[in-house]
């Protein structure tokens, strides 16, 4: 174990940084795309349902199959991997973005509109802050899901932690398999803990539970 680490740690760090690059790029594009799509469809519950169902069926396609099917169009490598991961995330993100916006008490929105708040200000000052916990929960899911599925992207030459796992399987090298698992699992666990922390901070910042400091 340690011998492998001492000899090949550059391989492990390289795989980890590739993995982080895929996950990071995927998340930035995913959140931007999901936000734009949510803004476009949020006014129509019917259209929202159709879009969510569409991405739901894409989400149901096994990742290896989706990677394979896209190779003729976008080739092998990181580009295809990020494309697939972004597509998967749209389901998790848009579903939660819409659910979050819908969860805001309509009475509060009506009060805002009735007092003369312009629609964009209602969105940014009222709806988004109040929907934020649910939006954050969607991003949380997307991060964990992306870290996991990205390991499979190594099968189409995208690099990342999956490379070590696939190498280990091919060469029947348990040390590589264990290191790959530790990296992938550890990354997911650390990301999960960090996101739980952010969610707690956000809840305290926005006082959703009413337990602000100085409560009598």
């Amino acid at each position: 174990m340690w011998a492998y680490f001492e000899k090949y740690h550059y391989k492990l760090t390289e795989a980890l940084s590739e993995h982080l690059a895929i996950v990071g790029l995927t998340l930035v594009i995913s959140v931007a795309l999901a936000s734009a799509l949510t803004l476009a469809i949020m006014r129509s519950p019917g259209l929202s349902a159709i879009v969510i169902r569409l991405f739901g069926s894409i989400y149901a396609i096994p990742s290896l199959a989706l990677f394979a099917i896209l190779i003729p169009f976008t080739g092998i490598g990181m580009k295809t991997a990020v494309l697939v991961l972004v597509l998967y995330n749209q389901f998790l993100l848009i579903r939660n973005f819409i659910a979050g916006l819908d969860s805001v008490d309509p009475q509060i929105v009506e009060a805002a509109a009735g007092m003369g708040m312009p629609p964009l200000r209602i969105l940014f000052r009222i709806k988004l802050p109040l929907a934020f916990p649910v939006i954050l929960a969607g991003i949380h899911l997307a991060v964990i899901s992306t870290i996991g599925i990205a390991t499979i992207a190594a099968a189409i030459g995208a690099g990342g932690i999956g490379t070590i796992l696939f190498d280990g399987m091919r060469t029947r090298n348990p040390v590589k398999l264990v290191w790959g698992t530790i990296l992938a699992g550890g990354l997911a666990i650390i990301a999960n803990l960090a996101l739980i922390g952010i969610e707690k901070l956000a809840a305290r910042r926005f006082h959703y539970d009413g337990n602000a400091p100085g409560k009598p």
Binding site: A111, A113, M115, P118, R121, I126, L130, G210, G214
Partner: protein
């Protein structure tokens, strides 16, 4: 000066069997406190929400101070109208100060002016500014929340106030106090109030005129005293009988 006028106003909701508001025509003078009394489904809330264009009439015209409200930008129109609703309606992620400052901020008042105004309004609704300014709505009782709702609606000193069963969820003692405070505030500033309620005693206590509605139509629109003395029809008579022995209160409004 006529503050609010309805002329042949009809509101139909798609798929509804009858008109929610059916050919309502009436005029409200500046400075009046009108209570709109009716059961649920009587059209009272619909009538109220047409004044700030949360609903738009299918027929007829509504004018504020002689100007047709359909000729105005709805967002700008609403800034001149205070709006208070029953269920909280306060923004839970903002402090009392931020809630009250919502419209002054949009109107780009300077910080100092907003600060002075917030404290002034909190005092007006009998909340100690130093104690309540930085609290969040979840840290307030129902009655305190409703006071903040009232202060927020009054922030930019609107000429017209719309109140939709604001005290509906408040216990009897607090409710009575809030009613007295509302009368005091109205007496001080003489803005025009339209106050929706299903509580007969409340309608007769607060309104200098009471608008009795049923099935989308105006049954009677008169001072409490004259409604008691001369109910327009059996519906109004039964309404008065159902509240039982409240008539004494109407003496206050007879002035």
């Amino acid at each position: 000066m006529i503050a609010i006028s309805f002329d042949g106003v009809v509101k139909r909701f798609p798929g509804a069997a009858r008109n929610a508001v059916d050919r309502v025509s009436l005029e409200i003078e500046e400075g009046e406190l009108i209570t709109v009394l009716g059961a649920s489904g009587s059209g009272k809330t619909t009538l109220l929400k047409m004044v700030n264009r949360l609903f738009e009439p299918n027929e007829g015209t509504i004018c504020l101070f002689g100007e047709n409200i359909m000729d105005k930008d709805p967002v700008k129109l609403r800034r001149g109208i205070g709006y208070v609703i029953q269920q909280i309606g306060l923004f839970p992620h903002m402090t009392v100060r931020e809630n009250i400052a919502t419209i002054p901020r949009i109107l780009k008042w300077d910080r100092a002016r907003i600060g002075v105004r917030v404290d002034e309004l909190l005092s007006l609704v009998n909340l100690d500014p130093d104690e309540f300014r930085e609290r969040y709505p979840a840290q307030l009782s129902g009655g305190q929340q409703q006071r903040v709702g009232l202060a927020r609606a009054l922030a930019a000193d609107p000429a017209v106030m719309l109140m939709d069963e604001p005290f509906g969820a408040i216990d009897a003692i607090n409710r009575s106090n809030l009613q007295d405070e509302l009368l005091a505030i109205h007496g001080k500033h003489k803005r025009t109030y339209l106050f929706v309620t299903h509580d007969v005693a409340e309608a007769f206590k607060l309104g200098n005129r009471v608008l009795v509605m049923d099935g989308g139509r105006v049954k009677q629109f008169d001072t409490p005293q004259r409604i008691v003395d001369d109910p327009a029809d059996d519906f109004v008579r039964e309404l008065l009988a159902s509240s039982g022995g409240r008539h004494g209160q109407s003496a206050r409004v007879g002035n």
